[in-house]
Assembly symmetry: C2
Homo-oligomer: 376 residues x 2
């Protein structure tokens, strides 16, 4: 089947049809009924839910059933260190933090320091070790509760994880891995095994507690395949299948069609959390794909197209205030807001956020070790 888009753990590109994704991957839409169930517990509803940024799920209603029975879940998400953290990475984490707060639950955050080493030719373990530390700072800076947040670093926690990973691996054949991930005979044997390590945090807290605990994984849709592939194995091992919530992709600066999702390895697609305010301004002004017209005159007359404008798209991921956002949308569409002005709004929003983030990121340097799971 010819498709206009690609969604794999290694590449996300094209005009993504999210309805098609839901159908293809066999997930469910997060509908109003489910939103209302969530709201019963959280009182308000996060803007990423209101705006359909988190749009799809697996077994979320089952998870809420369990929660309502008093069977608390834990959260699991992560980051494979291979480069600096960018704004796109923060999207599911910001939402995860909200879930942690509202449901008052534990978060297990995996930093699989071997994953990108295995998948990227020129990346060394020394590199990923450095990025593990750097990326951990960004996670901590978002304000996760230290007493309820546990980092798992695959090589540092291998004593806990490898033993469980082989139990997963025993139940998965190469041909099934091939089908799930598109592996070939030339794929290295570390890549083939890796998905078993990614499955582990979804049930490790149950192993440690000696009882089954429900798990909720908020993630970018491209990571769904790991769990689509291993959920049934996790249940065969005697644990709950993890529930999942999927979010849309933050487009790269030059737009989804041209560049795909924001990627840390392409400087021209991304705003990093460590970028200076001058750099943010420069990149947005130079690269952010515009939905505006050729001339100011034409723009004033016909208006811009916020639906393809990257600056506007980004604001939907970052601006909490619905009314402010609606105003920007309307003003851009009717031509009263110019592209340069829209970009300026985004630049200010980003720089205000990053200034605070960078301050907290500095403070995080003293806290990294405390977040790393030590209870074994």
């Amino acid at each position: 089947m010819k498709k206009d888009f690609i969604v794999t753990p290694w590449e996300v590109k094209g005009n993504i049809d999210y309805d098609k994704l839901i159908k293809e991957f066999g997930t469910e839409k997060i509908d109003d009924k489910t939103l209302n169930r969530i709201k019963k517990h959280t009182r308000d509803i996060h803007y990423m839910l209101r705006r359909n940024i988190f749009f799809s799920h697996r077994d979320l209603n089952w998870l809420l059933d369990e929660y309502e029975k008093g069977n608390k879940f834990f959260l699991y998400t992560g980051r494979a260190p291979s480069g600096p953290v960018h704004i796109g990475h923060l999207v599911p984490w910001i939402f995860t933090k909200w879930l942690q707060e509202k449901f008052n639950v534990e978060l297990w955050f995996q930093l699989p320091d071997e994953e990108k080493f295995l998948f990227k030719e020129n990346l060394t373990m020394k590199d990923t070790e450095k990025w593990t530390y750097e990326n951990a700072l960004d996670v901590i800076a978002l304000g996760f509760d230290r007493r309820k947040t546990h980092f798992l670093i695959d090589t540092r926690h291998a004593n806990l994880m490898y033993k469980e990973a082989v139990k997963v691996a025993k139940k998965l054949t190469f041909s099934s891995a091939k089908a799930a991930f598109g592996f070939t005979n030339e794929t290295n044997i570390g890549q083939i095994f890796y998905t078993a390590m990614q499955a582990v945090p979804a049930f490790l807290p149950s192993v440690l507690a000696g009882k089954k605990i429900p798990c909720l994984i908020p993630l970018g849709f491209d990571q769904d395949v790991h769990f689509r592939y291993t959920r049934s194995v996790i249940s065969k091992l005697g644990y709950y299948k993890p529930a999942i919530m999927h979010c849309r992709f933050l487009p790269g600066l030059q737009g989804m069609e041209k560049q795909g999702k924001m990627s840390a390895s392409n400087e021209q697609t991304a705003i990093y959390t460590t970028d200076s305010k001058e750099n943010v301004e420069f990149k947005i002004k130079k690269y952010a794909f515009s939905g505006g017209r050729e001339t100011i005159k034409e723009h004033r007359e016909k208006g811009g197209n916020p639906d393809i404008d990257v600056s506007y798209q980004w604001l939907t991921f970052l601006e909490e205030d619905d009314k402010k956002l609606e105003k920007i949308y309307n003003n851009y569409k009717n031509g009263s807001l110019l592209t340069s002005e829209l970009k300026q709004i985004l630049i200010e929003k980003l720089n205000k956020f990053l200034k605070e983030h960078q301050r907290k990121r500095e403070l995080a340097k003293k806290q990294v070790e405390r977040y790393i799971y030590k209870g074994f």
Copy 2:
């Protein structure tokens, strides 16, 4: 190519042509010149070398070159726990202990508790955990120097090993693993990855010491494929290719052709280290394949065939005294020694050995933890 024998890490059977094995696997014979080089350092020469039980090697002369330059090696061998230890397992370990003593070197002994779990459908990790402990007792009972012997248990030392294993795994493709081990698309992804874990102890001491140290691996020929497959990767990672010494297989009680090598999973092929003296007597009398004649009269007249007699074969692995062995050989061949008498010699030899082994095995129960590597 049709062959009369099979040698893989999972099956050893048939009339093994050891010269053919050497040719096929590209190893070298341990010749008199090499034996003399060894003797220069060890003074005497172990009966397993004199008798060609250790018959083949890789890079042994290079290892001796390094040793003579003052570059000491370490030893690496191991045991994948899946059942009780039998006499056949002890063969390379007895020789390894001699090497440790004579060269005064460290031994790293791997107990890969995930290997057989991954390869045997019905074996659980609980099972291999139990066998890890039981098998460790047998290793310790042989008298390895506690200060120079370090057990590596894959799941307990995964914090050390997994990080190094992924470096090996990155350089091995599925198609190469398929060719080396005969994997298929239905092979599980843990089996595919496992060889990377088996490679690690061959260079882990170099990682820990922060310098390249030569490694010598004494092993059964069936395990050679793991290192044939990973030696070049180990060298690409910046360490020495391990040298290897290969031993012949101790036949099962009913002989190589019928049963293959002694196998722990087949009660009728094996004498376990925990067998009672009555059980040893019973099994040898009942099962040990005889090279004797149909009747005592015929045996006295025409003599027996020690070359196919399993009791005699076993004595070549166990009886240190060449003269005693020669006498047994001649007497059996000329018919003056009957099969029942030959079996009695073996029974006494075994029971004498096992009595002492079982005593030391009891004492070992207090020592297991001390042998497990803790320097990390």
